[in-house]
C-alpha cells in the first residue's frame, strides 16, 4: 500500500503543482517540494521501522508489496514490490529529487507549474521502475520516465535542446521497444512451456530457455538498460542530453535515470537469464572497462564544464558494468554503493556547474579561472566533490570502486587492472574541474558571488551524505544485503 501511496503522492503533487502554478508561480515550487519531502519522509520512516534481516534463498521476500489484477486476460497484473535494494534506490531518488528542487529555487522557469508536473511525474516513473514487478508495468513506467524528461529537455533546456531531446528520445525509445520485444518473447515462451501466459516477474523467474533464445532475450533487455546507463558505444545521447538539460533535469537524468539501467540489469537481466548472463560475463566487463577508459579520455578533452562532467559520469558508470559482470558478492555491494555514491557526487557536480552558469552564463572552461578568491565556499565544496570523483577514501565513492575492483580482480585480473587505470585517469579530468575553474589564470573581470545559504545547504546535504557514507556505509549494505545475496545466488548456481 505504501508504494502506491508514494506514487500517487508524487503524481497528484505534480497535477496540483501544475494547477497551482497557473495561479501563482511560487506556489508551484512549494507544492512540488512538499510532495517530494513528504514521500521521502514516509519512505525513511518505513526504512527505520523495518530492518530487513530475512535471508533470502528462495523466492523474493518483499518488504512491501502490492498486487492486484489489472488485465487478467493478457496476464498483466499491477504488481509492485520493494526489497532492500529498491528501498535504497527509492530513498536516494526522493532525496535527490528534494535537493534538486531546492537547487532550482531561483532558476526562474517559465510555466513552473508544468515544469514541476513533468518533474514529479519523472520521479514517479523512476520510482515505478524501481518497484515494478510485472514486466508490462516495468515497460509502462519506463515510458513514463521518458516522456516527461523529453518535455523537460525541449521545454527548458539550453541552446541545443531540440537536437538533444530528439536524440535522447530516439535512443531510449528504440531500446525500450527492443526490450518490449524481449518481454513479449519471454511471455510467449513461458506460456508455451507452462500453459500460463503471464507478465509477472516472480512467475517468470526460472523459465527454462535454450541457450540461444536466452541470449537473445537477454540482449533485448540489456539493450534498453545499457543505453540508459549508458555504456559505450550506446552513449552518444549522453553528452548532449546531459548538457542541454536544465538544472534539476540534468541531476535527475544523470543521477537517477542512469541507475534505473543498473537496477534493471540487477533485478531483471541476471535473475531471468542467469546462464546467458554468465556467458556474457567477459564482454560485460570489457564494455565496462571500455566505458571507464573512453569516458575518461573524452572527459579530459572537453572544454565545456558540463560536458566534462557528463563524460565523467559515463566513466564512473563503467565501474557498475564491471562489477555486475564479475559475479562476485563483494563487487555487487560495490555496485550498489556506486549507484548511491555516484548519484550523490554527480548530482553535486552538476548542481555546481549550474551554480557557476547562473553566475557567468557560460559553461566554457576557458572563460573561467581563479574563482577561489571570490568563492571559497563553493571551492571547498568542489574539492570534496572532485575528490569523490577521484575516489578518495573517506568518501562513499572509494568504497564503491574498491569493492567493485576487488571483486573484478577475482574474476579477471587483466580487466581489473585496466579498470584500475581508470582510477589514474579520473585524476586527470577531475582536477581540471577544480584547477581550471578555481585556480590558474583569472577570468578577466568576472564578478562572481559566493554560495548563498540555500546553495550551501543544497551542496552541504550532498557532501554530508557522501562523507557520512564514506565512513559509515553499513546501513546501506545491511539494507541491500538480502536482495544482493539472492541475486548473486541466482546467477552463480548452475542451472540445468
Amino acid at each position: 500500500m505504501i508504494l502506491v501511496c508514494i506514487l500517487i503522492l508524487l503524481m497528484a503533487g505534480g497535477f496540483l503543482s501544475w494547477i497551482v502554478g497557473r495561479w501563482r508561480a511560487v506556489a508551484a515550487k512549494w507544492v512540488a517540494l512538499v510532495a517530494v519531502v513528504a514521500a521521502f519522509v514516509i519512505l525513511v520512516v518505513f526504512w527505520g521501522m523495518h530492518s530487513p534481516t530475512a535471508d533470502l534463498t528462495t523466492a523474493g521476500v518483499w518488504l512491501a508489496a502490492y498486487h492486484i489484477k489489472w488485465i487478467p486476460q493478457l496476464g498483466i497484473g499491477f504488481h509492485l514490490g520493494m526489497d532492500g535494494l529498491s528501498l535504497i534506490m527509492g530513498v536516494l531518488t526522493l532525496f535527490l529529487g528534494a535537493v534538486s528542487i531546492l537547487g532550482d529555487w531561483r532558476a526562474g522557469y517559465t510555466h513552473p507549474g508544468f515544469y514541476y508536473f513533468n518533474f514529479l511525474w519523472l520521479l514517479a516513473g523512476i520510482l515505478g521502475v524501481f518497484f515494478a514487478l510485472d514486466l508490462i508495468l516495468l515497460y509502462f513506467f519506463w515510458e513514463v520516465m521518458l516522456v516527461p524528461m523529453y518535455f523537460i529537455l525541449i521545454g527548458w533546456g539550453h541552446e541545443n535542446k531540440r537536437y538533444a531531446g530528439t536524440k535522447f528520445f530516439l535512443f531510449t525509445q528504440l531500446s525500450g521497444l527492443l526490450m518490449l520485444i524481449a518481454i513479449l518473447g519471454l511471455y510467449f515462451i513461458h506460456g508455451r512451456n507452462t500453459g500460463t501466459y503471464t507478465f509477472d516477474y516472480e512467475a517468470l523467474l526460472g523459465t527454462s530457455l535454450s541457450a540461444k533464445t536466452g541470449f537473445w532475450l537477454m540482449c533485448g533487455f540489456l539493450v534498453a538498460f545499457v543505453v540508459k546507463l549508458p555504456i559505450v558505444p550506446f552513449h552518444s545521447w549522453l553528452p548532449d542530453a546531459y548538457t542541454q538539460s536544465p538544472n534539476s533535469g540534468t541531476v535527475i537524468l544523470a543521477a537517477l535515470m542512469s541507475k534505473t539501467g543498473a537496477y534493471g540489469i540487477l533485478r531483471f537481466v541476471l535473475p531471468l537469464f542467469p546462464e546467458a548472463a554468465r556467458s556474457f560475463g567477459f564482454w560485460g566487463m570489457l564494455l565496462g572497462v571500455v566505458g571507464i577508459l573512453y569516458g575518461a579520455k573524452m572527459a579530459y578533452a572537453q572544454s565545456d564544464l558540463k560536458r566534462l562532467i557528463a563524460f565523467s559520469s559515463l566513466s564512473h558508470m563503467g565501474f557498475i558494468m564491471v562489477g555486475i559482470f564479475s559475479f562476485q558478492a563483494l563487487a555487487y555491494q560495490g555496485v550498489v554503493m556506486q549507484m548511491v555514491a555516484h548519484a550523490l557526487s554527480i548530482a553535486g557536480l552538476f548542481l555546481l556547474s549550474e551554480a557557476i552558469y547562473a553566475r557567468t552564463h557560460t559553461f566554457d572552461l576557458d572563460k573561467m579561472g581563479r574563482f577561489w578568491e571570490q568563492m571559497p565556499r563553493m571551492g571547498g565544496m568542489t574539492v570534496v566533490l572532485v575528490m569523490a570523483s577521484v575516489g578518495l577514501p573517506g568518501l562513499a565513492n572509494f568504497i564503491a570502486e574498491f569493492l567493485v575492483l576487488a571483486g573484478a580482480w577475482q574474476t579477471h585480473v587483466i580487466l581489473c587492472v585496466l579498470a584500475s587505470v581508470g582510477l589514474i585517469a579520473s585524476v586527470i579530468y577531475s582536477l581540471v574541474i577544480l584547477q581550471k575553474v578555481f585556480h590558474e589564470r583569472a577570468a578577466t573581470g568576472v564578478r562572481v558571488r559566493d554560495f548563498s545559504p540555500r546553495e550551501l545547504l543544497v551542496s552541504g546535504l550532498i557532501v554530508a551524505a557522501i562523507v557520512w557514507l564514506g565512513f559509515f556505509p553499513q546501513p546501506v549494505f545491511r539494507a541491500t544485503q538480502p536482495a544482493i545475496t539472492h541475486i548473486v545466488s541466482t546467477v552463480n548456481t548452475p542451472e540445468k
Binding site: P233, A301, G394, F402, Q410, S420, I424, L431, F438
Partner: protein, 634 residues
C-alpha cells in the same frame, strides 16, 4: 586505563583542528593557535605513550584498539582500528614532534600570506592523514591515510594559486604530484586486491602472521603482491621510476616542503615496506629490486642535486637521494637502520628546508642560490643551524647524527647477506656527491660576496624550531652507535622487537672499521671539493660549464637525467593527442551517419513528390503493371 587508550586522540586532535579551520576559518591568531596547539598536544601524548611503551611494553606484539567496523560484507570486515608498536611509535614521534615545530615556524613564515587559516587547515589535514597512515591496523585504513596525505600534498603544493606568474606552474606541480603518486597508489590498491584474495582480510598483523604459512618463499603470489606494494611505495617516496614529481613540488611554501616532502609523506613508502617486511622476506627477488631501486635513485638524485640552482630543488633531489638510502637499507634487510635513518633524516632535512625558507624570505622570495651569498654574517643563527643540518646530511663523522645513521646503511649494503659490493659502491660514490652538493649549497648561499640586501630578521618562532632541529641533527645519532664505538644500540634493540635484524654474510673482521673510516674520509673530501670549486676557484666550474661536453652534462643532470622528457614523450603527449583527436567522439559519427542517411533517403524520395501529375499518373500505371505481373506470374 592506560595512556594507550588515549591513542585515538593523537590523530583526532589535528582532525578537529582541520574541521574547525576549514568550516569556520578564523582570524590569524585563532588559526595560528588552532593550527599548532593540537599537534603539539598530540606530540606530548606521543612522548607520554613512548615513555610508557619503553618502560612497560604492552603484552604481545603491540597495542591495538578497534574504534568501529568500517563495513561488513560477507567475511570481509575492515575496521577503523589503531595499532601501536615500535615502528608506528617512531613515526608518530617524528610526525608530531617535527610537525609541531614546523607548524610553529609557519605561524611566522606565513604571517603575511593570504589564506592563513586555509594553510593551517590543510596542514592539519595532512598531519591527521599521516598519523592515520602509521597507526592503521588495517590496510584499507592505511590506504585512507595514504590518499589523505596525497590530497593534502596536492592542496598545499598548489596553495599559492594566485600569483600571476606562478599560477599555472603551481597548479601544474600540484597536478603532477597527485597524478604520479596516483599511479603508485593504483599499484598499491591492486596489491590490496591480491592480499584480500589470498588472505580474506586486510588486517595487517593477521596478514603478516599468516603469510609464511600461506605463501612459499619466492612464490609468484608473494612476488606480485610485493611488487605492487613496492609500486605504491616508489610513488609516494619519489623513487625511480615515479620520482619526477618531487622537484616540482617545491612550488609549495617551504614549511610544506619541510613537513611533507622531507620528513613525512615521502617516507610513507619506507613505512609501508618496513611494515610489510614479512611479505618482502618471502619474495627475495622483489627485495633485491627494492635495493636496486634505492641504489639507482640515490645515485641519480645525488648527481642531479649537483647541478641545481634553486636551493629548494637541491634539497628536493637530496631528499630523493636519502630516501634511496632508506630503500637500499630495506632492500638488504637492514630494517631498523632504514627506520633510524628516516628519523635522523627527518630532523636534518626539515631543518634544512626551514633554514632555506628563512633565507628565501630574507632574499625576497629569491630561490636561486647563485643570486645569494655572504649570508653567514647577516643571518648567523640560520647559518649555524643550516650548517649543522648540512653536516648531518653530508654525514660528517662523529659530530653529526647523519654519520651514525648513514654509515650503518653503507655497512649493511656491503655486509648483509642480501647486499653486494656494487650496492655499497653506489652508495659510497653518492655519499661523496652528497657531501659535495651539500656544501656547494652552503658555500654558495652563505659564503662569498653578498649580492642582495637583507632586510629580514627571523623572529623567535622561526628560531626555536631551527635550534631544536639543529641540536637534534647533532646529537640524535648517539642512540645508535656502531660496534667500533662501543655498540651502544638502544634504538635497534627497540626496533628489533618488531623488525628482524639484518642477516650478515661472512665478512672479514675489522672491515666495518675500515668502511667507517672510508665513509668519514669521503664526507670530508666532499667538503674540501666543494670549498675548492665554489669558494676558492668558482671560475673553474664556470669554465667547465661553457664547454660543450660540460654544458650537456650540466643540462642532463639539472633535468634529473631526462626522466621528465622521457615521460612527456612516451606518455603525456600520446594521451593528450588521443584526447584531442577524438574530441567530437567518433562513435557519435555512427549515429550521426544514421541520421544523415535518413535525411538523404528522405530527400531522395521526396523528389518523387514534385506535384507533377503526369509523374503520379506514370507511377500509378507502373505500379499497376507490376502488381498485375506479380499476380499473373507468381
Amino acid at each position: 586505563m592506560t595512556v594507550y587508550h588515549l591513542i585515538w586522540l593523537i590523530p583526532t586532535l589535528p582532525l578537529a583542528a582541520f574541521l574547525i579551520l576549514a568550516v569556520f576559518g578564523g582570524s590569524r591568531k585563532v588559526a595560528a593557535l588552532l593550527g599548532t596547539v593540537p599537534v603539539g598536544l598530540s606530540a606530548l601524548l606521543v612522548i607520554w605513550t613512548a615513555v610508557t611503551y619503553l618502560s612497560v611494553p604492552p603484552a604481545g606484539h603491540g597495542f591495538s584498539e578497534v574504534l568501529w567496523t568500517w563495513f561488513t560484507i560477507g567475511n570481509f570486515s575492515p575496521a577503523i582500528a589503531l595499532y601501536l608498536d615500535p615502528l608506528s611509535l617512531v613515526f608518530l614521534f617524528v610526525i608530531t614532534f617535527v610537525g609541531f615545530f614546523i607548524l610553529l615556524y609557519s605561524t611566522e613564515f606565513m604571517a603575511k600570506e593570504e589564506g592563513f587559516s586555509r594553510f593551517f587547515a590543510y596542514m592539519n589535514l595532512f598531519v591527521f592523514s599521516m598519523l592515520v597512515l602509521v597507526l592503521a591496523k588495517d590496510m584499507l585504513l592505511l590506504y585512507l591515510g595514504w590518499e589523505g596525505v596525497g590530497l593534502s600534498s596536492f592542496l598545499l603544493i598548489g596553495f599559492w594559486y594566485k600569483d600571476a606568474q606562478d599560477a599555472g606552474q603551481n597548479a601544474y606541480a600540484a597536478r603532477k604530484a597527485f597524478l604520479v603518486t596516483r599511479i603508485g597508489d593504483t599499484a598499491l590498491i591492486l596489491g590490496l586486491f591480491l592480499l584480500l584474495q589470498d588472505f580474506g582480510t586486510l588486517d595487517i598483523p593477521h596478514i603478516l602472521q599468516a603469510a609464511p604459512g600461506t605463501w612459499q618463499p619466492g612464490s609468484s603470489r608473494a612476488v606480485w603482491a610485493t611488487i605492487l606494494l613496492l609500486g605504491g611505495a616508489v610513488g609516494k617516496s619519489a623513487q625511480l621510476p615515479l620520482q619526477t614529481w618531487l622537484p616540482d613540488a617545491m612550488a609549495g611554501p617551504s614549511p610544506v616542503s619541510a613537513l611533507i616532502h622531507a620528513a613525512t609523506m615521502v617516507t610513507a613508502g619506507v613505512y609501508l615496506l618496513a611494515r610489510t617486511h614479512v611479505l618482502f622476506s618471502l619474495a627475495p627477488v622483489v627485495q633485491l629490486i627494492v635495493a636496486i631501486i634505492g641504489a639507482a635513485t640515490l645515485v641519480i638524485a645525488a648527481f642531479s642535486a649537483l647541478a641545481q640552482k634553486d636551493i629548494k630543488r637541491v634539497l628536493a633531489y637530496s631528499t630523493m637521494s636519502q630516501i634511496g638510502y632508506m630503500f637500499l637499507a630495506l632492500g638488504v634487510g637492514a630494517w631498523s637502520a632504514a627506520v633510524f635513518h628516516f628519523m635522523i633524516h627527518a630532523f636534518f632535512k626539515a631543518l634544512l628546508f626551514l633554514g632555506a625558507g628563512a633565507v628565501i624570505l630574507a632574499m625576497d622570495h629569491e630561490h636561486n642560490m647563485f643570486k645569494m651569498g655572504g649570508l653567514r654574517k647577516k643571518m648567523p643563527l640560520v647559518f649555524w643551524t643550516f650548517l649543522f643540518g648540512a653536516g648531518a646530511l653530508a654525514a660528517l663523522p662523529l659530530v653529526t647524527a647523519g654519520f651514525f645513521s648513514k654509515d650503518p646503511i653503507l655497512w649493511f649494503a656491503m655486509a648483509s647477506v642480501k647486499g653486494s659490493f656494487w650496492l655499497w659502491l653506489a652508495a659510497f660514490v653518492a655519499a661523496l656527491a652528497t657531501s659535495v652538493y651539500t656544501f656547494r649549497m652552503v658555500f654558495v648561499t652563505f659564503f662569498g660576496r653578498q649580492q642582495k640586501e637583507v632586510h629580514y630578521r627571523p623572529g623567535i618562532r622561526i628560531r626555536i624550531p631551527l635550534v631544536v632541529l639543529g641540536v637534534l641533527s647533532l646529537i640524535a645519532g648517539w642512540i645508535q652507535m656502531p660496534a667500533s664505538f662501543g655498540h651502544f644500540t638502544p634504538f635497534s634493540d627497540f626496533m628489533e622487537t618488531l623488525l628482524p635484524p639484518a642477516v650478515m654474510a661472512g665478512v672479514p673482521a675489522g672491515l666495518e672499521g675500515w668502511l667507517e673510516i672510508a665513509t668519514a674520509v669521503i664526507a670530508l673530501l666532499g667538503v674540501y671539493l666543494a670549498w675548492q670549486f665554489y669558494v676558492k676557484t668558482p671560475v673553474a666550474v664556470y669554465r667547465f660549464k661553457q664547454t660543450t661536453v660540460g654544458a650537456r652534462i650540466y643540462r642532463f643532470l639539472a633535468a634529473g637525467w631526462g626522466f621528465d622528457t622521457l615521460y612527456r614523450v612516451l606518455i603525456v603527449q600520446p594521451v593528450v593527442w588521443l584526447a584531442r583527436v577524438d574530441k567530437r567522439d567518433f562513435t557519435d559519427r555512427i549515429y550521426e551517419g544514421v541520421g544523415m542517411l535518413n535525411l538523404w533517403l528522405g530527400r531522395l524520395f521526396g523528389r518523387a513528390q514534385n506535384g507533377r501529375l503526369r509523374g503520379y499518373a506514370f507511377g500509378i500505371v507502373l505500379g499497376a503493371v507490376i502488381v498485375m505481373t506479380l499476380i499473373l506470374f507468381l
